[in-house]
């Protein structure tokens, strides 16, 4: 229940942030969230800033270039865009880590089932991906070129697709053996 409520609060705040067009209000919201969370965990500040920075730099620099340095136009457009983006990034770091997604989306058994399976596979695939990268780094003395990278990427792609097919078959057999599909028609 707590997770579902938190997810709902997060979604409502995100939608609200897109309905508010006052940069000061959004900045005040961001600072409020910041004060409640990042005072306790300052490293979250750095992570939030690092996540927001590429978008903020691209938008601000891009706008200044496109508007040919027109500061009055930038003054009208950029504060709102920046404040909204920063508020939303701060929200991500404040609320999302506290949500257990599988519990929050438990209202649909099928969705929950797919999510649990997908998440477990995603985490396994991420670990395997790291293993592949380390293996390549350990076997090459220089930075791999385009040809090597493409071959490595193709090998990875083929491995993941084959592994996905294999895992799907195994999971289905395991679930069938345990009678999972008997009451799902």
């Amino acid at each position: 229940m707590k997770d579902r409520l938190l997810l709902l609060v997060y979604l409502v705040l995100v939608v609200t942030a897109t309905l508010v067009h006052d940069a000061r209000l959004l900045l005040a919201g961001a600072l409020t969230v910041t004060a409640t969370e990042f005072g306790r965990r300052p490293q979250s500040w750095v992570r939030a800033l690092r996540a927001a920075l590429p978008f903020l730099v691209a938008i601000n620099l891009g706008f200044l270039i496109v508007s040919k340095g027109d500061l009055s136009a930038a003054g009208r457009v950029l504060p709102l865009v920046n404040a909204r983006l920063f508020f939303l990034v701060v929200l991500v770091f404040r609320i999302l880590p506290a949500i257990d997604l599988q519990r929050a989306l438990g209202f649909s058994p099928t969705l929950r089932f797919v999510l649990i399976l997908a998440t477990s596979q995603v985490l396994a695939f991420r670990r395997l991906f790291g293993d592949f990268e380390q293996a390549l780094a350990a076997r090459t003395t220089r930075r791999p070129g385009l040809r090597t990278s493409l071959r490595q990427g193709a090998a990875l792609g083929a491995f993941f697709l084959r592994r996905a097919e294999h895992d799907a078959t195994e999971i289905t057999q395991a679930l069938t053996a345990r009678g999972f599909f008997l009451d799902r028609d």
Partner: protein, 212 residues
């Protein structure tokens, strides 16, 4: 090509949620109607596979690297509806678990990449079925480029769709003159990498066969 929250106005994500919601319902109903016990696990691992494919990076001339999308490969292997649902789940997981992309952008990404990308890839693959290798390459290329074109169109429409009384943009501030070259041009190259990867992976998956 992950759109964060705050770039799209409610004028965009509201209708997009409406359309995507209907398609998600249709897709899930089709999934249940197949009465195939393997359908749900297949969907889950297709989700994980497309997530894993997005981790694969390829160097571009100039020293930068890009990640491939794998949309073409997923579409050719799993079909349009499975691809649409799997990619929707990928974007949901990325938004809610890892903070990549946003929940307001989720339906737009699902429609552009999940539906537009997979449909284009499958259509091209079927149309060029007589020449398997070029068909797989083109499917991989279209699976990347078509979503890029659609995303550029949606992003570039924001200043027209969401602005104040004076015409000042309230969300993403750049029009099509900026978004189309900025989003589409790099993806023409990413599409080539995706196409080459699709062909190499297809050869590794199905040696000696005409199709995966």
């Amino acid at each position: 090509m992950h759109i964060p929250d705050g770039f799209l106005g409610p004028q965009t994500y509201g209708p997009a949620y409406g359309v995507a919601g209907v398609l998600w319902a249709v897709g899930l109903r089709r999934l249940r109607r197949t009465l195939d016990p393997a359908a749900v696990p297949r969907l889950a691992v297709a989700t994980a596979a497309s997530f894993a494919l997005m981790l694969v990076t390829v160097p571009l001339p100039g020293g930068t690297t890009v990640h491939v999308t794998g949309i073409g490969m997923i579409a050719v292997l799993f079909g349009v509806w499975h691809g649409f649902l799997a990619l929707s789940l990928v974007y949901l997981l990325q938004a809610l678990m890892f903070g990549d992309g946003g929940v307001t952008a989720l339906p737009v990404m699902a429609l552009t990449a999940g539906l537009g990308g997979t449909a284009a890839a499958v259509a091209v693959h079927r149309a060029c079925g007589r020449w398997p290798r070029p068909a797989v390459f083109l499917a991989g290329w279209c699976g990347t480029v078509v979503p890029a074109v659609l995303v550029a169109f949606v992003l570039g429409a924001q200043p027209l769709l969401a602005h104040d009384a004076e015409g000042t943009p309230l969300f993403f501030p750049f029009g099509w003159a900026v978004t189309v070259p900025a989003v589409v041009l790099p993806h023409l190259l990413v599409g080539v990498a995706d196409g080459v990867l699709a062909v190499l992976a297809w050869r590794a998956l199905a040696p000696g066969e005409d199709a995966p």
